[in-house]
Each structure stands twice: as structure tokens, then as C-alpha cells.
Symmetry: C2
Subunit: 177 residues, 2 copies
């Protein structure tokens, strides 16, 4: 077993796909929220919209197509391609919360990360995965995980200090390649 | 941690959902394969159809709707409902091989197993899950699994002798409840 590649579980949203830009665009369309909105450290997007609209994200995210055209997070394609040579890379997304996201996420992965085989894609709820490393922006996914945890920076997690942090994919490359 | 419920990963096809009956119906429609076909021990369905049709299952299974109306395996609803009280039950299906199965399997589970929350559904390729027990009809899914493995009987696995076997959901109940 010792010569087997280490396994890495990589999250999607806010790690390789950027839903925040799309949320801001939709809130701009519906509520004139500025397109250059900066999300304050520790906040979620819904903290920055008018109070009567702060559950609107749930409507947006449940629409067919929401996840199909999300921007790719900078550097994720190049670094994951390189990681995929050295490690066994799995994409692990809590997609099951949003039934209409399943096909969109699958197609998005095939378009932008064609080197990730279907065998290495996992859509779940709770992340009960057994890998050696996990890269994720939500610490709740680290709760029962026993491997090395890399907290991928996103506005909402900026105030969290107890985890090994990576601010971008270049920092992931430095740590893992 | 010791008072936490044990976790069980439960497969879908040939464990709680029956694709074999549907395959036989489709082969009957297209190739007059008899509806009362018995699959011989150790065989897959494609061993029992005319040679020129033996990859047709791959076409059937990729069609939208194939997984939406599969029969429920006898006893699985009652026993999983009871197991779900005592254990943390996860449905873990290698659905990712068939893009068009994702929504169908999700909707099928919501219809027939509404007591399984989205947090406990996982569609994957390789089953890199960390649970205490796995119930599955394919021994390839046991390869890297360290917990207790229960091989759920299906024609194709009848000749396999090296695993703890359950022939039906009543036997699962006897072992786990």
C-alpha cells in the first residue's frame, strides 16, 4: 500500500468554482447591489444585500443553470492538473443540497477539468470521505476528517485562525507539489 | 465519540433498486428475450442476450428515465427505516458513471426513501467513504474499505465465497437490528 498515491479531496464552490461573482451579478440585476461589492471578512454574501432580499441567494442557487457557467477560480486548472499527476485527486462537492445543481456541476467539471475522471467525482451531503488531504473553504467539512486539512481562503472564513490556510492555488502548489 | 451512531453506506442498484427487471423488459421489447429470464449464478444480464445486443445495456442505462421508475427491492424500505433509527444511514451510489442517472436517482430516493436526508446521499465513482459498515453487491467497492462488508446477493456475485453475505433485507435486519 505504501507506494500508492496519496488522495486529495477538493471542494468545488469557492475553491475551484466562483459562485460569489454570479451572486453579485444577480443581486445587482434585482437589487442594484454594486458589482464591485467587497464581502467583509467573516461575512456571507447575504450580509451585504437589502434585508428583504437576504434569502434570495437560495432561490438563485436552486435555479437550473446557476452552476453551469460559474467562473473558474484562478490557478485551479493548472495546479489541479499537476496535482493529478502526483496524487489521486477527487472532486467532492456538497451538491446534494441542490437537486438542480447535479447535472450543471457534472457538465461544468467535464468542461473545465476534463482530466478528472468520473470515478473521481463525488456529489454528497456530509463529506464522509477517506482521503489523506482535504482542500475546502468550510470548516464544517473538516469536523470528522482525520487527514490534513487545508482551509482555502474565502471572505466568510477570513476570521478563522485554527486551520492551515491556503490563500490561492499558487500556495496549494507550494505546499503540495 | 463512542456514543455516536455507527455509519452504514448502502448501495443502490441491485441492493435497494432493481435495474435487472427493467433490463429484461427492455431486452424483451427489442430482442424477445423472455420476461421470466433467470440470470445464471456468476453471470451479468448481458451474458443472456443475443451477442449482437450484449452492449445494449449501456445504451439503456444512459437514457434519461432509466433509473426513475426502477422497482424497489423487497424489504429495503422497512429495514432501512428501522436501521436509520439506530445507525447513521448513507446511500452511496456509483451514479457518476451515468450523467443522466443523477436527477433520476435523486428523485427516486426522495420518492421511495423520503426519510434519507440530502446530507446522507452520495453519488460517486470510487467509493472512498469512511463508514463502519458497507452493504454492496459489487466486491470492487470493498477493495479499499476498512469496515464491515456485507455482500448483498445478486446473480452476478453468487459464486463469490470470501465475504459475509446477506441474501435479502430480512437477513440484514437479523444481523444489524
Amino acid at each position: 500500500m505504501s507506494h500508492k498515491k496519496l488522495k486529495i479531496a477538493v471542494d468545488m464552490d469557492e475553491v475551484i468554482a466562483d459562485p460569489l461573482i454570479k451572486f453579485i451579478q444577480l443581486y445587482n440585476r434585482d437589487y442594484n447591489v454594486p458589482l464591485d461589492l467587497i464581502i467583509a471578512p467573516g461575512n456571507e454574501i447575504h450580509h451585504h444585500v437589502p434585508e428583504h432580499a437576504n434569502m434570495k441567494w437560495f432561490e438563485y442557487i436552486n435555479e437550473k443553470g446557476f452552476f453551469r457557467d460559474l467562473p473558474v477560480i484562478s490557478g485551479s486548472q493548472e495546479v489541479l492538473k499537476a496535482l493529478n499527476e502526483k496524487y489521486e485527486v477527487y472532486i467532492v462537492s456538497a451538491a446534494m443540497e441542490f437537486r438542480n445543481s447535479l447535472e450543471d456541476k457534472f457538465d461544468w467539471l467535464n468542461e473545465h477539468f476534463p482530466f478528472i475522471a468520473w470515478t473521481n467525482i463525488m456529489f454528497c451531503g456530509e463529506k464522509i470521505v477517506k482521503t489523506d488531504i482535504m482542500i475546502d473553504d468550510r470548516i464544517k467539512n473538516f469536523a470528522d476528517f482525520e487527514g490534513r486539512k487545508l482551509l482555502f481562503s474565502s471572505p466568510h472564513n477570513q476570521l478563522i485562525t485554527q486551520h492551515e490556510r491556503v490563500n490561492n492555488w499558487q500556495e496549494v502548489a507550494v505546499k503540495l507539489l
